[in-house]
Amino acid sequence: MKRTLIVGGGSGGTILANSLDRHEFEITMLSSSFGHLFQPALLYVAFSHARARFVRDERSLLARHVNLLHDEVTSINLKNKTVATKSGVLFPYDYLVVATGMHTDTSQIPGLSETNAEFGDYHSSLAKAERLSYHLDGFRGGTIAIGQSSPIIKCPPSPLEGVLLTDQLLRKRGLREISRLIYFTPYPRPYSAEPMNEVVEPLLEERGIEVMTFFDVERIDPANKTIFSIEGDKIEYDLPIIIPPFVGANITYEPSDAVDEDHFVIADKSTLRIKGAEDAFVVGDASNLPTSKAGVGAHLQAKVVAQLLSGHPATFDGRTSCPFDTGDGRGTFVIGSYDAPVIKARPTRIKHLMKTAFQRIYWISLRGTLNPVFDVYFKLTAPKKAAAASD
């Protein structure tokens, strides 16, 4: 039996644990939380009062043979092949898979912690999303400034989804005429990838949403309700919706160069092997791979690692397929891969329905039983590769 340790019980870790053959692997999952949150729901908790069972017990999502332990991993020694936890236990492993995701860190930006504690956000937790929802309810007109405060983000379309859903909400409540909606972004255009931007920019214009590009948040002055950028601009707000910066889990690695400055695990972008390790892999948001941080990626990467651990050749091609709610019952998908640029995909009602349907099948998809359906979907929607470039 191969002793396999999975650190993190979110989307990636759960799919991986359920994909490994119980006759071949002795699987232990160490996770700091037992409540598994369906994170995309935070958008709807904040902007449309969604209230459903968005958190489930991780135990109920795992195959029975997976040994689930509630503990926080504090250090990983890739040389000795051991993992240490907060409760003082040392776990040796044959194979390790890191699936610790990433979390928001408001301390990186002066003034953000106070602002976030007061107004909440829709990327950190259910409680924070409810806090934001409360402030949106109380909004009676004025300026709403919304955007991401640093370049790394969970689900790249989510800042734009937030601004489009805010616009929809204000129209519904008859407040749009007396409100300014300002979208700020560190990128040169509203959506970083040009083909998708060609879809998004006209939408924002049509809805009277002001855009401030190259706006990388440097600090916030809560007393004067102002956001300042590194590039020298500022925005005055009545209601700030600021997506905090993200960092990887606070785990010490040996060797220490297995993670970057923000604690993202450095790995081979195709085999997902952690730098300098033969038997350790990373899946999902925890890595520094040049692809979107999204559940779809975590899912596809978990499948690749499951194949590799079972001795079958497999590589990850950087494929993304992020659902993008553009408001008013329409949606689209951001589709691309390492060597296929993002494609231009117009919003439709069908695509929005697909996003809504996914909310229902998410819990089943963690079991891995829907993989054949996803395989067909990914094949049908595969983006065209660009011409290969040499060194």
Binding site: P156, Y187, I230, G318, S337
Partner: protein, 80 residues
């Protein structure tokens, strides 16, 4: 990202979404005046983006080279 005494190498090859401009924005956030950023990319859109970025931020593009599909941009941080 690879940093040695004020010179940062940002390898963004094969990254199309969110793309090289994201990596440049991260490197800029971590930089200080006097640093040099060397950005490698394969996405042809990078040239226009870096020009717009330099115009906006007031930083200096030292050179832009293209060979075999690889684009190399050298940037000197003069403003932060």
């Amino acid at each position: 990202m690879n940093q040695t005494s004020g010179r940062t190498l940002v390898d963004s090859r094969g990254s199309s979404c969110p793309g090289p401009i994201t990596d440049l924005a991260i490197a800029y956030r971590r930089s200080k005046v006097g640093d040099v950023i060397e950005l490698w990319a394969t996405d042809p859109g990078v040239k226009a983006d870096v020009n717009a970025w330099a115009a906006k931020t007031g930083n200096e593009i030292v050179s832009v080279d293209e060979a075999g599909g690889k684009i190399t941009v050298i940037i000197r941080i003069t403003k932060r």
